[in-house]
């Protein structure tokens, strides 16, 4: 892939060390504009840790992360989100006692401009903004295919909770959407819906998607570019066909011949 413009996300030589454990070892990684790219690897390969390093939940031990031309290395999570990177969580982290709409409204937080005095006096501006936020939240929920808008997040079935997390992440109008195992626990039909949703997000909204996923059917069909991690180290990258044929990848997943 030869880029003429700078890629959306450039992570260079990122490492993360916990005590003596090197969870991510010198990984460099790019995400182009309007693309779906995947990060795969066996359990414990450091995929989620790498995700957390980019989204500000961890401080990388070394390395830099440049997003959309801005250096966001070791910036706080809310600043990273504000800059245009939104994420979902592997273990669903919804606000459980809030309704689906409210969850999405929380996702809009960095894009809303109400000030505290305006909120107390509920000025016409704040009123309009709140109404707009509610409408937009319902739109997003329709887009991800969640019908029970006023249901509490904790009462939603598992697949809907996953969808709600994506809607909540999209609410901050991101340029890059990071999905951490979005199809975990979904049936094949739901996975297929999710795949088409990712493509719509890319094509209709021009948002890049970075995907961590174990479902190889989804990964191979949707990704333009795949990076493989094993024990914190990048062992392969390339298009789906290339990665599928790579002997080191096969070894990482199936074990080496003794």
């Amino acid at each position: 892939m030869s880029e003429t413009t700078a890629p959306l996300l450039v992570a260079s030589n990122v490492s993360k060390v916990f005590g003596g454990l090197v969870a991510v070892n010198d990984v460099s990684f790019t995400v182009p504009h309007k693309a779906i790219v995947s990060l795969i690897g066996p359990n414990g390969a450091g995929k989620t840790t790498f995700f957390n390093c980019m989204t500000g939940l961890y401080k990388p031990t070394t390395g830099t992360v440049v997003f959309d031309g801005k250096d966001i290395t070791a910036k706080r999570a809310d600043i990273v989100t504000d800059a245009g990177m939104a994420r979902t969580f592997q273990n669903i982290k919804l606000f459980r006692t809030m309704s689906a709409v409210e969850n999405v409204q929380v996702g809009m937080h960095p894009r809303l401009k109400s000030r505290i005095t305006g909120m107390i006096l509920r000025t016409p501006f704040v009123r309009r903004e709140e109404q707009g936020a509610r409408d937009k939240a319902r739109e997003l929920l329709d887009m991800v295919g969640l019908k029970r808008h006023d249901e509490l997040a904790m009462n939603l079935p598992y697949g809907d909770q996953r969808r709600l997390e994506i809607a909540r992440a999209l609410a901050s109008d991101p340029k890059l959407l990071l999905l951490d195992e979005p199809t975990a626990g979904m049936n094949p039909q739901e996975s297929e819906q999710l795949r088409s949703l990712m493509e719509r997000v890319r094509d209709e909204r021009g948002i890049s998607v970075l995907l961590i996923e174990h479902d190889m059917k989804v990964v191979m069909s949707v990704s333009e570019h795949i990076t493989v991690l094993e024990s914190g180290t990048k062992i392969a990258e390339g298009g789906p066909q290339e990665v599928r044929a790579n002997p080191r990848v096969i070894e990482a997943y199936l074990g080496s011949q003794a």
Partner: protein, 399 residues
């Protein structure tokens, strides 16, 4: 996994949480009922002085409980030192509305009784504003060191602040924080008399005009309720609940944890200061013994017993506990006196029994907020994925 969730899903009767009945209908009926109270008391009772005095206290407690509700109920930050802000508010009105600083000669819209006295005499209604802003700043300053703490640790640090603030006032007889040599508190004796509430140039409201003082207190309650309702259904209110539910997720949604928590502390403190100014003015004296640790706990009990996070529950809790303490038990004394027994001598026992009974029978409080009720009765295991890194694994960074 999805089957396990569906089987034991708790059902909430009203899925629309905050937008059930319009809060403004409840607001008008609550304020209306409180406004009629003195009229009812006046027609039914011949000697209503003690009841009205107790009601003045209850109004101040409603304001404080609603302020603490923002910190504890909305943002989920357990504060055991809330009395500190009440103390700061009370000292602000003492400084700005008494002859304590006798060398100064500042009169701003003072009532006719205070116009010719030495010292600083600023009109009560201006002091209210100054006190609220001043305590809000202190709320943020005292909140700042606690931002990284959660749960028990947060409670311990706030408890310490609740003890430190009154001691600072007690020892500020020769400068404050060791700076200067001005007497800021008159030590244990405290500052008195504080100017009565009054309008510029007119005679102030006398200490026995309880009904007038009541309506001023009610106005403060109405303002406090208004602020609570507005913030609960706002961007900030959602951010508070999000932080309470899950700091990691809230931060990843672009919520600035520091700013969100500090706003909760500042607004909660401002309302505490509000109540402190009112209290100082109706008692016409301020001294550090009024700000014991027990008072923080008392206010926290109002919030918990009423229903943490539910504005109307907290109002109910504040009225119930405050009236029981300053009217109910002293009245019972009159009944038990002939047999040589003072009910008030066992008031702690009565409160303890009451709290215990509440916690066993109805831990969510009189009027629980829908959300809190779900949290307390939620026995459903979280949908967990085996290699869940857990919350501890995240470095929730706030700076």
């Amino acid at each position: 996994m999805s089957t396990a969730t569906a089987a034991s899903t708790p059902v909430l009767k009203k899925p629309k949480l905050s937008r059930g009945t319009s809060p403004w209908i409840i607001f008008l009926s609550v304020v209306g009922a409180l406004a009629l109270f003195p009229v009812v008391v006046d027609t039914l009772m011949t000697d209503d002085a003690s009841l009205m005095k107790a009601s003045l206290q209850a109004l101040a407690y409603i304001v404080m409980a609603l302020g603490l509700n923002i910190v504890v109920g909305f943002a989920g930050l357990l504060d055991l030192g809330y009395v500190a802000f009440y103390a700061i508010g009370a000292f602000v009105v003492a400084w700005l509305g008494s002859s304590h600083f006798a060398d100064a000669d500042i009169h701003i819209l003072a009532s006719s009784a205070a116009e010719n006295l030495p010292g600083i005499h600023v009109n009560f209604f201006i002091v209210l504003l100054i006190g609220a802003v001043f305590t809000a700043i202190w709320g943020a300053l005292l909140g700042a060191p606690t931002l990284r703490l959660r749960g028990d640790y947060l409670a311990i640090v706030t408890l310490a602040f609740g003890e430190i603030v009154p001691r600072v006032f007690e020892n500020s007889t020769s400068g404050i924080f060791g700076i200067g040599s001005t007497d800021f508190s008159n030590g244990k004796q405290g500052i008195q008399p504080i100017d009565s509430i009054g309008f510029p140039g007119q005679l102030p409201i006398g200490p026995f005009e309880n009904v007038k003082l009541y309506y001023i207190g009610l106005a403060l309650v109405a303002i406090t309720l208004f602020i609570n309702i507005m913030l609960r259904d706002s961007r900030m209110g959602r951010a508070w609940i999000a932080v309470r539910e899950d700091e990691v997720a809230a931060s990843a949604m672009g919520i600035n944890l520091v700013r969100t928590k500090l706003w909760a502390y500042a607004i909660g403190a401002a309302l505490g200061g509000f109540a402190g100014v009112y209290f100082g003015a109706i008692n016409t004296s301020v001294n550090v013994d009024q700000f014991a640790f027990g008072k923080s706990v008392f206010i926290l009990c109002m919030v918990i017993i009423g229903g943490m996070g539910n504005i109307w529950g907290v109002v109910l809790g504040a009225i119930a506990l405050s009236m029981l303490n300053s009217f109910g038990l002293p009245e019972l004394n009159k009944l038990s006196d002939p047999i040589g027994f003072q009910v008030t001598s066992i008031s702690f026992g009565i409160f303890g029994f009451f709290l215990l009974a509440m916690m066993i029978l109805r831990p969510e409080g009189f009027l629980p907020s829908g959300r809190r009720k779900l949290e307390l009765h939620d026995e459903e295991p979280e949908v967990a994925i085996p290699d869940d890194p857990g919350d501890q694994a995240y470095e929730v960074r706030q700076s």
